[in-house]
């Protein structure tokens, strides 16, 4: 009992968390209002497209949250988290495909269109059960979770750490991308899943359904934020941070480092999977390009921009970076890669604590004592194991 009260007390003292949760609630109220209640003629009206975009940003924000949990607190840099996101998305997509039923182009009540098109005679076994929403939700959690469990078990047990782990995870998502591009995998190949009709009976064309999906997404962001916050504030959270700062020392103190790592890694993968599942009905498509290594690494830079090891920083970073991406890819498409590239370089060089750490960094800079600046940088460097 005592343990939970400490978490609660620490959460109440945490002003960042308070502001963050208030912000989420505000968005959950204001944006659907602007979309549904404000007339189209008004300057304050939010278009359906805009509403979906915000939903997308927060799905990515949830993924960023998952990445921050393992990178910011445990020092594990996964360059393949997009894979868990996409797997969750595919699980939801399979449900949505089955939900189309006989309304597809070919009107087959069981087989999705692409299977009819590819001359498949019957549903592959791994598609069974996806006509039930509950089963699909279970899979959204299980598939990424089990993959992370197996992968993490192998990796952490043999002490694959640091950049090695990063590269292996990148290879994982790359391999999955290659696999899902194949038509005979039974996941729609290149085109993936699209043309969804409804979700548990609610029409996916309706803006009201999308408003509800947005609210659910925000609620899930808040929930996973609270879960992550509870974990990092707990005793286990301290061990996890100890692993980040000095893995060998933590091991020598008697902690089972691999178990802690495995726990956060699996939890993080599950959060990523749920984010993917929320993403698919709002965007209306899922295809293998979600597995692209670039997607995963973009999320990492979102976390770095927002500020590592803060959790809310990840959400802020993801929303800002993805907003910038939308802006640039429509206004000046060829500039986006320069901007993104420059973000990677500038943030790692000049913003060790991201945007949310900017104020304290500026304060130190303005005070202008060299010692203080170095002190700040060294503290920031502690966010990952140093090589001296």
């Amino acid at each position: 009992m005592h343990k939970y009260t400490t978490v609660w007390v620490s959460a109440r003292r945490d002003t960042g968390t308070k502001w963050f949760l208030c912000g989420l609630v505000l968005i959950a109220i204001v944006l659907p209002y602007l979309n549904l209640a404000v007339p189209v003629s008004s300057a304050f009206h939010l278009s359906n497209y805009g509403l979906r975009l915000v939903g997308k940003y927060f799905c990515y924000a949830m993924l960023a949250l998952a990445v921050d949990l393992i990178w910011g607190y445990c020092g594990i840099l996964s360059l393949g988290h997009g894979a868990f996101f996409a797997l969750g998305g595919y699980a939801m997509g399979m449900y949505l495909m089955r939900e189309i039923g006989p309304r597809g182009v070919y009107g087959n009540p069981v087989l999705p269109d692409f299977m009819v098109f590819l001359n498949w005679k019957s549903l592959p076994w791994y598609w069974y059960g996806f006509n039930h929403f509950g089963f699909a939700l279970l899979m959204v959690v299980l598939v990424p979770g089990v993959l992370a469990l197996a992968f993490g078990w192998f990796a952490f047990r043999s002490r694959v750490t640091g950049v090695y782990f990063s590269i292996i995870t990148q290879a994982l998502t790359y391999a999955l991308m290659l696999g899902f591009f194949r038509n005979d995998m039974g996941f729609g190949g290149n085109n993936g899943f699209t043309d969804f009709k409804d979700i548990v009976g609610f029409n996916l064309d309706s803006p009201r359904v999308h408003a509800v999906l947005l609210v659910i997404t925000l609620a899930m962001v808040a929930l996973s934020y609270a879960a992550c916050r509870a974990i990092v504030a707990s005793r286990a959270g301290r061990v996890i941070r100890a692993i980040r700062d000095a893995e060998s020392r933590t091991r020598f103190l008697g902690y089972r480092v691999e178990n802690y790592k495995l726990f956060v890694f699996v939890l993080s993968a599950v959060i990523a999977g749920i984010a993917g599942a929320l993403y698919v009905p709002q965007i209306g498509i899922i295809n293998p390009s979600e597995f692209a290594p670039l997607n995963s690494i973009e999320i990492v830079i979102c976390v770095a921009v927002g500020g590592r090891g803060t959790l809310y920083g990840a959400v802020v970073g993801a929303v800002l970076v993805n907003y910038a991406k939308t802006y640039f890819t429509t206004a000046i498409p060829e500039a986006w890669n320069y901007v993104l590239g420059a973000l990677f370089v500038l943030v790692t060089l000049f913003l060790p604590r991201g945007i949310v750490g900017l104020s304290s960094y500026l304060r130190v800079l303005l005070r202008g004592r060299r010692g203080a600046i170095r002190q700040f940088r060294m503290e920031s460097d502690k966010l990952e194991p140093t090589r001296k």
Partner: protein, 554 residues
């Protein structure tokens, strides 16, 4: 009695003369002078077919240097005579209904302008004449001084064996000096004997054919052991059948060994591309502890440098590649040093952040290439000396560009070893990588060494780009396709070890190539990745793990 003996002697002499004149006829014939040659040629247009046979024979035996060209032209319907003065000309091969024909003088074989088609009459040949001409051509080619031509001639003859062509081969086999041509003739003669009925001859023919590797030989032997639809064997002679069966088995075995060698070679050549891109990474990743995600883009810079060099010297594609090698090295090395000085040096000791920053650089470089060169494929021409295939034997051939890449990789690798082991900068690089503070204490400017190391690794990436430009299209995504594989190679081989990169690259290439026929390209790649993840379980630090103090820091 005396009279009879005399008659016998005369008959015998006649016979000998007849035989020698038949078999060595051309040697005894008088070489025709130019005027004689022209006179014989002049008879052709108006001659009947019987005369034509004679004239053709006369021309063939004339020993005149132009005879071959003229007879070939007649065979290919390219011999014409001018209507007004009955002069005979060769014409160049051209479209069927061209209004004018390009004339060639029959004596000097030089171009002498063109003439309208309707002022010329074709000198026609019938089937018998064609057969005679074909034989003559085969004879000409068989006695060509060029061994490759003779070899091809034998192969062509094998396609239609008959009494005449077999005779030709027999004649040639006694005088032939080149061992390959000789072997080919023996194969051809053996193939001919197989159709005969003499068991002993056929058995020895099969023994000869056993040494061959050719598919058509296997097919021919295979036809001997086939069963007819009613269940019996097509071939009635049991001895021949068994010998043929053994021969087919032996040939098949050797053919499959050679095809294994070929797969191995493909694997090695694929692997050497990986090695080229991975040794640069091994240096920056291993020696400096720096993850350079922009490595692939440095390769891309090398490939575009090759393209630009080729654009600058379009008439000399063959030599441009030699210019491109140093240019690509310098361009990529400079880019590498620039990246190191501007970004990476601020991030030493923070490998994950270095990874992100260099990834950002790779995005910018890619976009830069896209802005300058457009996203379209730019194809770099392959020099003539690098195209084509090298036929080692009937079952084994290697393409020149793959072979050259393997050689190039070996050279680059050797050069790198020399730099690392034999030069001062190499010594300093190794010192800094083993123990940075101690190296600094000994007076080595470690930051300068860092820049040079990064430059060296990047320069090698540029060289890899040159090699890549020869086998794939050059586009802004060139580096992306190889970067993950190269990292796998480094992880597999062990960090900080160029030998590890070599072994890792070659074995990944070979394994990929071995798996591909069974699983397809994509699954092979996935299988290799999965195998690697499992491999890391048992050897987390790769095939050649770093040892000593340096290993603690990675």
């Amino acid at each position: 009695m005396k009279k009879r003996l005399l008659r016998l002697g005369a008959q015998w002499l006649f016979l000998v003369l007849l035989l020698t004149s038949r078999s060595t006829g051309p040697l005894y014939a008088q070489p025709l002078s130019d005027s004689g040659f022209l006179a014989a040629l002049g008879e052709l247009p108006d001659a009947g077919f019987d005369d034509k046979y004679r004239i053709v024979e006369q021309l063939a035996q004339s020993g005149h240097p132009s005879a071959r060209a003229v007879l070939t032209a007649l065979l290919e319907d390219r011999l014409y005579c001018r209507t007004q003065d009955k002069k005979v000309f060769l014409v160049k091969p051209g479209p069927e209904d061209a209004p004018t024909l390009e004339l060639i003088d029959p004596l000097t074989l030089k171009d002498i302008g063109s003439a309208p088609t309707d002022t010329l009459d074709k000198i026609v040949a019938n089937n018998r004449l064609r057969t005679i001409l074909e034989q003559m051509r085969a004879r000409f080619r068989l006695s060509s001084p060029d061994a490759a031509t003779r070899l091809q001639a034998v192969r062509d003859i094998e396609q239609n064996l008959n009494a005449d062509t077999i005779q030709l081969l027999r004649e040639r086999s006694s005088t032939e000096s080149d061992s390959r041509v000789k072997k080919e003739i023996a194969t051809g003669l053996a193939l001919a004997v197989l159709d005969g009925s003499d068991t002993q001859a056929r058995l020895s023919a099969i023994a000869t054919l056993r040494g061959s590797l050719r598919q058509d030989v296997v097919n021919k032997l295979g036809s001997l052991i086939e069963k007819s639809p009613d269940g019996g064997y097509v071939e009635s002679d049991k001895q021949v059948r068994q010998a043929a069966e053994a021969a087919v088995k032996s040939i098949d075995l050797r053919r499959s060994i050679y095809s294994g060698v070929q797969t191995l070679f493909f694997g090695v050549s694929l692997g050497s591309v990986l090695v080229l891109s991975a040794i640069g990474l091994a240096i920056t990743f291993g020696v400096m502890g720096v993850i350079n995600m922009a490595h692939g883009e440095l390769m891309m810079l090398g490939a575009y440098s090759t393209y630009l060099v080729q654009m600058a010297m379009p008439e000399r594609i063959g030599t441009s590649i030699f210019v491109a090698i140093p240019v690509a090295f310098v361009v990529s090395a400079l880019a590498g040093v620039l990246i190191e000085r501007m970004v990476i040096r601020f991030l030493y000791g923070r490998p994950l952040e270095t990874l992100l920053a260099t990834f950002g650089i790779s995005l910018m470089l890619q976009q830069l290439a896209r802005s300058i060169f457009t996203p379209l494929n730019r194809s770099v021409k392959t020099p003539a000396w690098m195209s084509g295939t090298l036929q080692l034997n009937e079952a084994l051939s290697v393409t020149h560009n793959r072979l050259d890449i393997v050689i190039f990789t070996v050279l680059v690798f050797a050069a790198l070893l020399v730099v690392l082991k034999r030069t001062r900068i190499g010594l300093e690089i190794r010192a800094v990588s083993q123990n940075r503070p101690m190296a600094r204490a000994m007076g080595i400017r470690s930051s300068w060494v860092d820049a040079m190391t990064f430059g060296l690794g990047s320069g090698i990436a540029g060289l890899a780009g040159v090699a890549l430009s020869q086998i794939t299209n050059v586009n802004p995504n060139l580096g992306q396709a190889y970067i993950i594989d190269s990292f796998m190679v480094v992880v597999f081989g062990g960090v900080g070890n160029v030998w590890g990169a070599l072994m890792g690259g070659l074995s990944m290439g070979v394994v990929n190539q071995l798996l591909e026929p069974y699983t397809g390209a994509v699954l092979a790649k996935i299988a290799v990745l999965v195998a690697l993840v499992l491999f890391i379980q048992t050897r987390p630090r790769g095939l050649f793990p770093p040892t000593g103090r340096a290993s603690e820091n990675l």
